[in-house]
Symmetry: C4
Subunit: 235 residues, 4 copies
Amino acid sequence: MSREFDLPRRLVAEALGTLLLVATVVGSGIMAERLTDDTALALLGNTLPTGAILVVLITILGPISGAHFNPAVTLAMLLRGAIGRHSAGLYVAAQILGGIAGTVAAHLMFEIPALGLSAHLRTGPAQWWAEIVATFGLVGVILGGLRFNGPAIPWLVGLYITAAYWFTASTSFANPAVAIARAFTDTFSGIRPLDVPAFILAECIGAVLATALFGWLLHPGTRLTIRGALRGAAD
Amino acid sequence: MSREFDLPRRLVAEALGTLLLVATVVGSGIMAERLTDDTALALLGNTLPTGAILVVLITILGPISGAHFNPAVTLAMLLRGAIGRHSAGLYVAAQILGGIAGTVAAHLMFEIPALGLSAHLRTGPAQWWAEIVATFGLVGVILGGLRFNGPAIPWLVGLYITAAYWFTASTSFANPAVAIARAFTDTFSGIRPLDVPAFILAECIGAVLATALFGWLLHPGTRLTIRGALRGAAD
Amino acid sequence: MSREFDLPRRLVAEALGTLLLVATVVGSGIMAERLTDDTALALLGNTLPTGAILVVLITILGPISGAHFNPAVTLAMLLRGAIGRHSAGLYVAAQILGGIAGTVAAHLMFEIPALGLSAHLRTGPAQWWAEIVATFGLVGVILGGLRFNGPAIPWLVGLYITAAYWFTASTSFANPAVAIARAFTDTFSGIRPLDVPAFILAECIGAVLATALFGWLLHPGTRLTIRGALRGAAD
Amino acid sequence: MSREFDLPRRLVAEALGTLLLVATVVGSGIMAERLTDDTALALLGNTLPTGAILVVLITILGPISGAHFNPAVTLAMLLRGAIGRHSAGLYVAAQILGGIAGTVAAHLMFEIPALGLSAHLRTGPAQWWAEIVATFGLVGVILGGLRFNGPAIPWLVGLYITAAYWFTASTSFANPAVAIARAFTDTFSGIRPLDVPAFILAECIGAVLATALFGWLLHPGTRLTIRGALRGAAD
C-alpha cells in the first residue's frame, strides 16, 4: 500500500477486488455445479479459479489499497497498527458492499435473480473450528509474507486458499465480507444467512490468534502474549 | 514491446501467438470432449492448457510485439496512445488471420476438415454481460500489470483467463480474434457465427470501460471520465 | 535459516509447519474421499492442496527454521553439516509431535475422533522402492535448489511433491514424521502402523543416496563415494 | 550450462534428468489408469506431474548440463552452435539410456516387468503433424526463453508441455528419447515400437523449423532462410 493513492481510490480498489473475488467464487461455483454431478470436481472447478484470481487481484490492487478484500485481514492490520480505525471501518464497508455486488454480477451472468438467500447449512463446532484454522492460516501466511517476502504475497494467498478449500471442512471462507456476500446466493457456494454470524466470529478469532502467535514467531525479542505480540508486530 | 523489432517481425509475432493460442483453445477442447462425458472435466481440460500457453506465449513474444493476440487489447493500447492507428489495424489483421490458422492447425491434428462452422449457440444479454465483465477484467489486469509489475503480466493474464473460463457464463472469450476463429470450428469451443458480432461488441465495451476505470484508479491526480482517464493513462 | 531466530522459535516453526502440512494431507484426503467415488479425482484433490501448502509453508517458515518439516531432510542436513546433532534431534521431535497434532486438527474439522489407527496396507518391495525413489528425488531437489537457486526451493518442493504423488506407487510419503502422523488416521491418506517402520527405513536410504549422488554431481572436484560426497557437500 | 561442470557430470545430469522425466510420464500414467476409468482424468493425472517435474528438473540440472533431456533440443542447440558434435552425440546417448532406465524405475514401483513393448498405436499423418507442431513449439519456447528470459525457461517448458499434452492430438511426445523409452511400456503412456521412427522424424522436423523461424523472429537483422537463420541464431 502506497501513500500515493488517496482514500477514494483505495476504497474503490477494496470494493472492486472483493467484487471480482466474490464474482469468481460464486460464478465458478454455479458453472461447476451446472456442468457436473461429481461434487469433488465441482469443488475443483471452484478452487482453481479462486486461487488464480487472488494472485491476480492482489498483484494489481495491492499497491493501491493493500488488497485486503477481507475484514479479518483488515482487523489484523488494525491490530498491528498498519491501518487506522477510521480507514479500517471504511475498508470493511467497501469490502461488504463490493462482495454483495460480486454476487449480483455473477448472478446476472448466469441468469439468476440478482440476489437470493442461501439454504446451504454450514454450522456446528467442527465448521467453526475449520474457520478458525482457515483464517488463522490465512492471516499467518500474510504476516509471514510481509515479514520475509512481500512480492510473494499474491502467490502465497492464492496457493493457501487453493489448499484451504480442501483441507478445511468449511472450504475455507476465512473472510467475513465474502461470507456475507455468499449468504445472498442459493447456489453451490452459498451459506445460510443464519450461519454467517458464527462464521464471522470464528474468522475474527482465527485472525487474532494468528496475529498473536505469528507476532511472536516472526519477531525475535518479543514475548508470546496477545498484548506483547501485537506490540512487537507493530515494528 | 521494443522498438528494436521491425513491423514484419511484430506482425508475425502477433499472428504466431494468436495461432498457437487458438490452436490450444480449439485443440484442447477437441481432446477433452473426445476423452470424457463430464462437461466440467472437459472444461478443465480446456482451461488449464489455455492458461498455461498464455503465460508461455506472452513471455516469449511480448518483447517483440507486446503480445496482444487480441483486438480488444490492441484497442485499449490505441486508446492509451501506446500504439498508432496504422500499426493497430495491421495488428488486428494479423491476429484474425493467425487465429483462423490456429483453428486449421488444430483441426488437422485431430483429423477434422480444415474449417467448419460452429452450431454452438452463445447469445443473449447474460452472455453479453459475461463478455463485458470478462474483457473488462482482462484489460484491467493488463493495465494494472503494466502500471505495477510488468514482468508478472504473462502470469497475470494466464491466471486471469484460468479463472474467467469458470466465473463468466460465456467461458470468457474476451477476444474478438479468438471469437472469429472459434466460429470456424464445430467442436467444444465453437461459437455460432451469427453470435460473434454481439460478442465482439461486448468485448470492445468491456475494454473501453476498463481503460476508463483503471485509467483513473491507477493514476492519482486524474479524473474519472472516459476522456480524462484516457488522457491520464497515456503517461 | 537465519541465526537470528532462537531455538524455541525454530522448533515452533518446525512443529507448526509439519502440523499444517499434515492437516492439509489428511484433511484434503478426507474431503476428497467424501465428495467423489473416483479415486483419481480424490488423489488430485489430495495432491493440489499438498503441493500448494508446501510452497506457502516453506516460504514463510523457511527463514526461521529452514522449513525441513521432515526428518529425512533433517538427516540430509545433518550429513551435510548444516545442522548439529542436538538441534537435529529436537527438530525431529518437533516434526513428529507437530505431525500428529496435524492429524488431530484435521480430524476435529471433519468430526472424526481425534486419533485413529489406519488399516490402509502399504507394504512390499515395490512400495519401499517407491519410497526410496520419492525421498531420493525430494532430497536431490532440495540440494540442487540450495546449490543453484535458493529462493526457488518452496516452488521446487511443492512441484516435486505434486509430481511424486502420481509417479511413485506409494503416493510419495517421503517423510518419516508425516508417515507416523498418517498412521493415526483411518482415512484416505492413512498407512497401517505396522507398515510405517519400513517406510521410514526406505526414506532414510533415499535421503542418504541423494546426499551422496548429488553431493558429487553438484560439486565439481569431489569424488563419488558416500564419504567423499558428504565431505564435498559440506562446503 | 556452465563450463564449470565436467563432461561426466553433464552426462549424468542428462541421464538422471531424462530418467526422472520418463519415470514421471510412465509412472503417473500407470497410476492414473489404475485409479480411474475416465480417460480425460487419466490424462490430467499424467499432465500435471509431467509439467511439474519439468520445472523442477530444469531448475536443478540446467546449470550443470543445460537440461536438454531431449535429442530434439540437443539438435537445435547443435544447429545454433551452442554444443559441439561430440558432446551432442554423448548427450543423446545419455538421454536414451536414462529414458529407458526411467521406464524400468517406474515399472518396478508399480510391480510391472522391467521392460515391455507397447501395443499403443500412434501413427498416421495427423499424429505426425501433431508431433511437428509440438516440437516446433517446444524448441521455439526454449529459444525465446534463451533470448529474453533465461531464468523463466523451467517454467516455460513445464507450462508448454502442460498445454501441449492437450492441444496436440499425440499428447505431445516432442522428444525422441522419451518416445523410445515409452516404446518399452505397455501402459497408458506407451507407443508401439513400429510407430517410433516416424515420431522421431517429425520431432526433428519440428525442431529444425523452429530453429529457422525463431532464429529469424528473435534476431533483428537476420534473413528468413534456414541457413541465414541458423547463422543469425549463433550470436
